[in-house]
């Protein structure tokens, strides 16, 4: 290999190295930008709308649970579902939070209705008075 070829190869290597470094540097710079973009997306009107919907769903579930409890009609798992919904919302999974809260709200409503239907004692027919 003559000197000219060697010099050309060294120059090419240097160019590639410099280019690679600048790509890496660009990627490094882009990473915080992507994180910021994610955060921005989380704060986007659509996402904060989901959070608000989840918060509303949890509040409705809690209200239904309390109403059922006021007539001794609360079911075993309703409170647990609400806690899980709160945890899901905290973890950023508003869809899961909404799903759990809606289920809990339904339980609260059914528990209340059940207790209301049982307000008056009706002795079962298998007991022969």
């Amino acid at each position: 290999m003559n000197m000219k070829k060697m010099t050309a190869m060294l120059c090419l290597g240097a160019i590639v190295a410099i280019a690679g470094q600048s790509v890496f540097a660009a990627e490094k710079q882009a990473a915080p930008k992507a994180e910021a973009a994610d955060k921005a997306a989380a704060k986007s009107p659509e996402s904060s709308g989901d959070n608000a919907a989840a918060e509303a769903a949890i509040a409705a579930a809690e209200s239904a649970r309390k109403k059922a409890a006021s007539v001794d009609g609360e079911w075993r798992d309703t409170g647990k579902m609400i806690k899980k919904a709160q945890a899901a919302l905290k973890a950023g999974d508003s869809a899961k939070a909404i799903k759990l809260a809606k289920k809990a709200e339904k339980q609260g409503k059914l528990g209340y209705e059940q207790a209301q239907a049982q307000q008056t004692l009706k002795m079962p027919s298998y007991l022969k008075y």
């Binding site: 409890a69 001794d72 009609g73 609360e74 079911w75 075993r76 798992d77 309703t78 409170g79 339980q107 059914l110 059940q114 207790a115 049982q118 004692l121 009706k122 002795m123 079962p124 298998y126 007991l127 022969k128 008075y129």
Partner: protein, 283 residues
Amino acid sequence: MKNLPGKLLLLSVVAAIAATAQAASEQPTPERDKEVFENRFKERFPDVAREEFANGVYAIDPIGRESWEAIEEFPPYELFIDDGKEMWDAPFANGKTYKDCFADGPGIAHKYPHWDKEQGMVMTLPLALNQCRESQGEKPLKYKKGSINNILSYIAMESRGEVTNVVIPEDDPRALDAYEKGKKFYYTRRGQLNFACAACHVQNPGMKIRSDMLSPALGQTTHFPVYRSKWGTIGTLHRRFTGCNKQVRAKPFKAQGEEYRNLEYFLTYMSNGLTLNGPGARK
């Protein structure tokens, strides 16, 4: 004819009084409730002697009874009785003992639950024990698990052979009200599975839920506290109530709260006349 409106009014009043009196006479009394309750079990298990119901499900489950009898040869609750005796004899920090609260103890289980007129509430044995402790400056014990079961086991053992005799005093209408509340609790459907206590233990005793036979309600209170293999230890009646409520997916009530004390009052009254045989052993 002049007095016709007056006569009609008088007739209406008389008819209303008669209707009210009839309605009152049709209102089932605790005695009538008990008679109907017992008849249900007599009809369902005609070959089982009444006294046998004190043995719970083993009165109607011959296969389960064999293993129960084998377990009773080396009772798993014996150590708890020994520990309970130590608790009974040990002086509190002030030098007094349980005996200072319960002069006729330790065999006092048959005196509970009873209506406490002064406090206006159903008094159960665990509650009375804790009231005793607190009056002597001691901390109350927990109502479901732990050392309360030791002393309850000792008292139950010393009370064996006594007869269940819950009284609903007629001179205090609040006692009947507590009984009625307990009865209402027992027949009320609750939880996601929409079951009442009675749905399992009055309507369907002898039927199976998975591999377990449902026990008859008659006699269910005679053997507490109970060592349950499922728990791997001994537990109180209110712990069992809690478990039942959870099984039908209802939120349980507080142990020794008003709901469960009234329930105990009703349920124990239904077993009046049956011999106490606690502590017991069950699956």
